[in-house]
């Protein structure tokens, strides 16, 4: 049994430390600082998996904690850039709503499985990276509308696919 107090989860938790200075940078119009802070948040996301492998402390809780941290950090980032007018509001609202739908479906999946687990979605992993970039595009002023609006149909496709896997398809390992 791996303790929840392990180096990988500490790295994951440290991502929250980037949020207050990120908010400060956006509030003061410091585009480059905001981009750098979101980049650090994204790099820490990659680092926690590496730390988990090095210290052999991978766990179902760690995977779930990582997914929740992704949602909170990137959700916060998206809302902040939209509120401060650095990104178009409508696609960001749609993205956040779909994020909640995804969380609800994953919660339902945990109920179906009967214990803490994180459904591994290869497509959603890629979209999470896109989300980090999306905030970076907003802070960097790089084709913001283009990237925001194209994100929406990609996320819809993933939600439909993952929704079927999470809510309808048989749970792996369950008796037929």
């Amino acid at each position: 049994m791996v303790s929840r107090w392990n180096p990988a989860n500490a790295v994951t938790a440290s991502r929250f430390l980037t949020l207050p200075p990120f908010f400060w940078a956006v509030q003061h119009g410091y585009h480059q600082w905001a981009t750098l802070l979101m980049l650090i948040c994204g790099l820490l996301d990659k680092l926690d998996g590496l730390v988990a492998r090095i210290f052999d402390c991978r766990s179902a809780f760690g995977e779930l904690f990582d997914a929740i941290t992704d949602a909170l950090c990137y959700g916060f980032g998206l809302v902040v850039v939209a509120v401060y007018g650095w990104a178009p509001v409508l696609p960001i609202v749609l993205i956040v709503i779909m994020g909640f739908i995804n969380s609800a479906m994953r919660g339902q999946y945990v109920k179906r499985v009967g214990h803490t687990t994180n459904y591994k979605s290869y497509a959603m992993e890629r979209l999470v990276a896109y989300t980090g970039y999306l905030i970076g595009f907003a802070t960097g002023g790089m084709e913001v509308s283009y990237f925001c609006w194209l994100y929406v149909p990609v996320m819809v496709a993933i939600l439909v696919y993952d929704g079927k896997r999470l809510l309808i398809d048989p749970v792996p390992g369950a008796a037929a």
Binding site: Y30, T35, A123, Y133, M142, Y146, V154
Partner: protein
């Protein structure tokens, strides 16, 4: 104290390299992964999940590369 870390031009190039470089690499890696796993048993849900993930990765890669070209007014 300056509020800028680097000049605007360097910042634009950094964004382009970070985006275009990763998006282009991602597109190639996922395309190769998809081709390599084309004969895998698609009745296995995990294989289907991986294939779908590769296709989404390729789509995001294309979006990223086109975004970079638009950023520099090439498209």
């Amino acid at each position: 104290m300056s509020t800028e870390l680097v000049s605007d031009n360097v910042f634009r190039w950094a964004l382009t390299i970070l985006t275009g470089g990763f998006a282009g690499a991602w597109l190639v890696v996922d395309a190769v992964s998809l081709i390599r796993s084309r004969h895998a048993d698609r009745s296995d849900p995990v294989v289907r999940d991986k294939h779908f993930g590769y296709v989404i990765g390729m789509a995001i890669g294309v979006i990223g590369v086109i975004g970079c070209l638009r950023f520099w007014n090439v498209l």
